[in-house]
């Protein structure tokens, strides 16, 4: 395939889609599949066929639409009407009333059972209105298993432009201008990383896409890989071009079989269409992608551990420098980017770095995808501009706290992050502000807690995670996290003294300062942040113990 063919595919697919009068999208993101959307999809296809409407109504499985707890979801196009909690017996009625009689069924509309008013055009609901979708642009609209659908929505246009109209320096300049920062959590400027790898001269360089989304409560990367795998692939190929790499590895968690399957399929389709392999689109650029499946180790999200794991070893991190940009996979210069970072690339090339930079805050450009869960009315996948306040996310988009409870804290960054208490609800979510509050942006998991959550136990929960996930290579992390966990358990059992509390804080700072890799350095974060904002709860446990002891 060459440049012209790309345009041709887009036109042909467009004509094919236009033959249908109606389109029904069935959410086949993981959340909706868990609630049974595969059966709904089958049922819809069968019903449409049985009614002889196969030429009029197109039924498409799509990626995640967002409000996961209301699933299974189906979306009627072009009205953008979403029906929630769809059951098999509702299917004929929806087809009859919504499509044939053109009368939407109000009682089944999305957000019907809540304070948010249901809308015929669901995108008018506050849940969607406050969002800005770039990474998730086509997620929920196109069939993730069809390369044609991706091409028709503008896919691989950016790659074409890069290959024929831009030098690698120009691509890097655009990424730098966009102020895109690593979406895996640390927030390192992506453009600078690309430039560094580009500068090193080597016979072989690699691009690694980090899809080892280990944070509990974070499912952004999974949704992107499942909902629009071609977008990630396109970003990877562009990254390969910009850095001079000809081989790529995608490291996907073993817990995500669907993401693995869809990404594999995307690679096959791209290879068949000449978008992957030798002489991409007829240019002189070659790029090949391999998939590596993770085997369940949180530490493998750390870049040097990830490299060890791709090489087939235990996922032990190593000291940096040298950074992977210089000495990476098999000792070669290696670019490692998160799934979401790579998913931003195509849009930046298409619309320009400046456009992307304008969306976010002065220091962090663009949007961020969060997975919203916990004690919140609408949990699911959202994408907002950098700098959106936490209040807006929790109360406008997420619809507030259920059961008349009060907001207590939001936990970001998983076991490496911290808690943001109610007094900081107006914090503008970006990298610097969250660090100032003692948390981190992390990969984007956002768990909301209400008054019933015991913050000491929350700290203990995360510390238990770190004890289990510590690779055991360095002492501060291996032993330190265990001792911290033991002290926390002692506190929870009301057997600790004030002295223990002091020791806890001292040791936490010590582990943070002396651990080898990010896991150990960040492991005390949940503890330190709960200690900072909820010290009373710790004291309650300790004081009660003091009162019980005979003086």
């Amino acid at each position: 395939m060459n440049r012209q063919d790309l345009q041709l595919i887009a036109e042909q697919t467009n004509i094919k889609h236009k033959q249908y009068k109606h389109k029904v999208c069935v959410c086949c993101g993981a959340g909706c599949i868990f609630s049974g959307s595969k059966k709904i999809l089958q049922n819809l296809q069968d019903t449409v066929k049985a009614q002889g409407k196969k030429k009029d109504i197109e039924v498409v499985p799509t990626g995640c639409m967002g409000p996961c707890n209301e699933g299974p979801l189906i979306k009627m196009m072009p009205q953008n009407t979403i029906y929630q909690k769809v059951k098999n017996e509702m299917v004929p009625a929806i087809l009859q009333s919504h499509i044939i009689e053109n009368k939407p069924i109000e009682k089944w509309l999305l957000f019907k059972n809540s304070k948010q008013k249901p809308f015929i055009n669901s995108l008018q609901a506050p849940f969607f209105k406050k969002q800005r979708k770039i990474v998730l642009k086509d997620c929920g609209d196109i069939n993730p298993e069809s390369i044609e659908d991706y091409i028709v929505s503008g896919g691989y246009k950016a790659l074409e432009r890069v290959l024929f109209e831009m030098s690698s320096e120009e691509v890097i300049a655009q990424i730098k201008q966009s102020r895109l920062r690593g979406r895996g959590g640390a927030g390192f400027p992506t453009g600078i990383k690309w430039e560094t790898v580009n500068k090193y001269v080597a016979d072989q360089k690699y691009v690694i896409c980090n899809g080892d989304e280990g944070d509990p409560g974070a499912f952004m990367d999974r949704s992107v890989l499942e909902g629009n795998p071609h977008r990630v692939l396109e970003g990877m190929i562009i990254a390969g071009y910009a850095t001079g790499a000809s081989k790529g590895y995608v490291y996907i968690r073993g817990e995500y079989p669907l993401a693995i399957k869809r990404f594999e399929l995307a690679c096959q389709q791209a290879r068949k269409s000449g978008l992957l392999g030798l002489n991409i689109l007829g240019s002189t650029f070659h790029f090949e992608v391999n998939i590596r499946i993770g085997a369940g180790a949180y530490v493998c999200g750390e870049e040097t551990a990830l490299i060890a794991s791709i090489e087939g070893k235990r996922g032990n991190p190593r000291p940096r420098p040298p950074f992977p940009a210089e000495v990476g996979l098999w000792g070669k210069p290696t670019l490692i980017n998160n799934v979401e970072t790579l998913a931003c690339v195509a849009s930046i090339i298409t619309h320009g770095g400046e456009w992307y930079a304008q969306i976010g805050t002065p220091k962090s450009g663009g949007t961020k995808v969060f997975s919203l869960a916990g004690k919140i009315n609408y949990s699911g996948l959202i994408e907002v501009p950098m700098g959106t306040s936490l209040r807006e996310i929790v109360f406008n988009i997420g619809g507030g706290i259920p059961g008349g409870q009060k907001f207590k804290a939001a936990q970001t960054g998983g076991p490496s992050g911290g808690c943001i208490p109610a007094e900081h609800l107006d914090v503008k979510m970006d990298y610097e502000n969250l660090v100032a509050l003692g948390s981190i942006m992390g990969s984007g998991g956002l768990i909301v807690m209400d008054e019933t959550s015991d913050m000491v136990d929350v700290a203990r929960f995360f510390m238990e995670f770190c004890v289990d996930e510590s690779c055991g290579k360095c002492v501060p992390c291996r032993v330190g996290t265990k001792v911290l966990y033991d002290i926390l358990t002692k506190i929870c059992q009301r057997q600790a003294s004030m002295k223990d509390l002091e020791k806890l804080e001292e040791l936490a700072l010590f582990v943070k300062a002396t651990s080898l890799c990010g896991l150990g350095m960040a492991a005390p974060n949940p503890l330190l942040s709960t200690l900072r904002y909820f010290k009373n709860e710790y004291l309650n446990y300790v004081n009660l113990q003091a009162a019980l002891q005979p003086s």
Partner: protein, 169 residues
Amino acid sequence: MKPKRNLDREFSRTDPCVKLVIDKIEKENYRPDALIEILHVAQNAYGYLPMEVLSFIAKELRLPPSRVYATVTFYHLFSLKPRGDHTCLVCTGTACYVKGAQAILEELENKFHLKPGEVTCDKKLGLRTARCIEGCGLAPVVVVDEEVLSNVKPEEINDKVLAKMGVKV
């Protein structure tokens, strides 16, 4: 030179799964860096990783058995013990934790006298926990065999598991 195959004939004849493993090893061209990929295939074939399979893989890839064992025990997804006929997987991710996964786990532990990672004496049921299956919108989540149960309440979980096992409640 292609490595000489040290195949234990007895072992391969009694075990049809070994073919899947050999195919994968050949596909990966005996490269030691494909170890984790090969272990995935072996575990899918057997349901767990028997010791003799590990030494077989080590021989084929010309790796020290200690390296293979060290890799297997490092990663959570690999298991050295057989699984039960049915598996009950309780998600203990943050969202499930906040919504009460601990109570569900305790309920199951008490009813079936199991700790996570164990299998009942009759090998009927295995209890496991997961760090997060990322079904956070539906928390708390329990996966029984392949079926995902969402918004699980502690009082109903035992009956649901028993029903899945075919035991009349």
